[in-house]
């Protein structure tokens, strides 16, 4: 398994680590059983994400995807952040090994989950989150080739 330089950079020097007190939206996805939990805090002013922080228990790629995801949504509108896909996260990191794609899914979910929390708290209806289920499990532990 080989990580890109970008991944290693975000893993070793993660941006926006921490918590936000009185955050406007908090999302938590993953579970400790699978070895990964991502927690994301949003500070939203007007329609804009003015601050974002994360805490992650997980593999190197989970930490790197959390980090880059916070960068990618900071300063963006809620609407824009809603369109963050795991694919965009993977691309921004110059790729991820096949068995690590699900970590990027986790990052996308963490953002959505925090936005959902923000929407609920503010009684907003966010298009694109209707079908979103943050508890869905995207782990795929086995290779197709296994006998």
């Amino acid at each position: 398994m080989m990580y890109s330089e970008k991944v290693m950079d975000h893993f070793m020097n993660p941006r926006n680590v921490g918590e936000i007190e009185n955050a406007d939206g908090i999302g938590e996805v993953g579970n400790a059983k699978c070895g990964d939990i991502m927690k994301m805090y949003l500070k939203i002013e007007g329609d804009v994400i003015v601050d974002v922080k994360f805490k992650t228990f997980g593999c190197g790629s989970a930490i790197a995807t959390s980090s880059i995801a916070t960068e990618m949504i900071k300063g963006k509108t809620v609407e824009e952040a809603l369109h963050l896909t795991n694919r965009a996260v993977v691309e921004a990191l110059d790729g991820l090994p096949a068995q690590k794609i699900h970590c990027s899914v986790l990052a996308e979910q963490a953002v959505k989950s925090a936005l959902l929390d923000y929407a609920r708290k503010n009684n907003l209806q966010l298009t694109g989150l209707e079908d979103f289920d943050p508890t869905e499990d995207h782990h795929d532990h086995h290779d197709e080739d296994e006998q």
Binding site: E28, G35, F57, H139
Partner: protein, 387 residues
């Protein structure tokens, strides 16, 4: 140059120079096929005979009881399937443990799909099976008991002598995966009543891709690899001549140096354990404090995850492992750690550092200086950690 500290000797070892030196002539000069009649073949055959004797001597066996294989996994597969298929008419029950290497576990699972029944013994919090569990598991259908000598992840050493007494009394064939124990524990197959034993060269400073199965004289089993008449018709395939030569040398060195080796790695191991325990909170040592491979350290650090720990250490030039190397392609927590009763979170946060002959005291000092900082950094990022 960047520091590179290798603390993953249980995954594999570098070859010793003496081993390489002994192998060198067999690549380009003495390259004959040992089955050939001519002089090239005869010198190859002689080299193999010598290695077989060296290996036999190292474990108290006879030369004709040593059969070379392509590695430890092949030896495990051969022993287990070979005994199972050869004894189908006597019974269909196999006993093993929950903490075996995958080469044993997945082979047993394969046999389960083919009409065999397998009992997987539990282990206690330190990784020991209970002798009473074993006794209770035996039925009149039991044809094989396969239990590892020492565990590759947590280093726990099983009571092989006691088990051998039982299998001897009950006349059940006893296979031991000694891939990790060999070179780290004194082994005499007769004292221990072992009927079959798997070995692998690359764990004892020998070459990769060569292993051996000890088969006690008189024990019958099916072949795994059929074909030519090599290895007394029991394991076909042109012999890995340089590999066998290297394994022979490595085995000789391992038994000659056993005491010195144990002393060296144990001293460093104890220093590492003590140092970390003193500096870091929320950490436990997985495995047994006494019945433990001399070079094995396995820590569980709470609140953090193994891969990110490994990666961080790797950036500092420290090479360790979480779980066994073979399973690191998987995202599941180690089956061994789970069998000890650890929670998922803690199993995920485990780090194995294994010490070998080339490890120095400076290496350990460096780890003691860096590891606590890494753990702290990751904990700061963890949503599970509340100071």
């Amino acid at each position: 140059m960047k520091k590179r500290i290798y603390l993953d000797y249980s995954a594999t070892t570098p070859m010793k120079q003496e081993v390489l030196d002994e192998m060198m002539p067999y690549f380009t000069e003495k390259f004959g096929n040992p089955s050939s009649i001519h002089s090239f073949g005869r010198e190859a055959k002689q080299a193999i005979d010598l290695s077989r004797e060296r290996l036999a001597k190292a474990i108290g066996a006879k030369a004709e009881e040593i059969f070379f294989t392509g590695g430890g996994s092949e030896a495990d597969n051969w022993a287990i399937k070979g005994i199972a298929y050869a004894n189908r008419d006597k019974g269909n029950h196999i006993i093993t443990t929950k903490i075996e290497h995958h080469a044993v576990l997945h082979t047993c699972e394969y046999l389960e799909k083919n009409g065999f029944e397998v009992t997987y013994l539990d282990v206690d919090a330190f990784g020991h099976i209970k002798i009473d569990d074993l006794k209770n598991a035996i039925t009149d259908q039991t044809i094989l008991i396969t239990i590892m000598f020492a565990n590759n992840e947590i280093g726990t050493i099983q009571p092989i002598q006691e088990i051998g007494q039982i299998t001897k009394e009950k006349k059940i064939i006893f296979h031991v995966d000694a891939v990790q124990a060999f070179g780290n524990v004194k082994i005499d197959v007769n004292d221990l009543n072992i009927d079959l034993m798997s070995l692998s060269a690359h764990k004892v400073y020998g070459p990769k891709g060569i292993g051996a199965l000890y088969i006690r004289k008189g024990v019958k089993l099916h072949s795994l690899i059929h074909g030519g008449a090599q290895e007394r018709r029991r394991r076909a395939g042109t012999e890995n001549l340089p590999g066998i030569v290297g394994f022979g040398k490595a085995a000789s060195l391992a038994s000659e140096n056993l005491e010195v080796h144990i002393q060296h790695v144990k001293t460093l191991r104890d220093k590492l354990i003590k140092g970390i325990m003193e500096q870091v909170n929320y950490v436990r040592l997985n495995g047994h404090s006494e019945y433990r491979l001399p070079g094995n350290v396995n820590f569980a650090f709470e609140f953090i995850e193994g891969e990110s720990l490994l990666l961080s250490l790797d950036m500092l030039g420290i090479a360790g492992s979480s779980g066994s190397a073979c399973t690191s392609g998987s995202l599941d927590p180690s089956h061994v750690l789970m069998s000890l009763g650890l929670t998922h979170e803690i199993a995920h946060g485990s780090l194995r550092l294994t010490i070998g002959d080339f490890t120095t005291e400076e290496d350990i000092d460096y780890v003691l200086q860096e590891l606590p900082k890494v753990v702290d950094r990751l904990r700061q990022m963890s949503p599970l950690y509340e100071k």
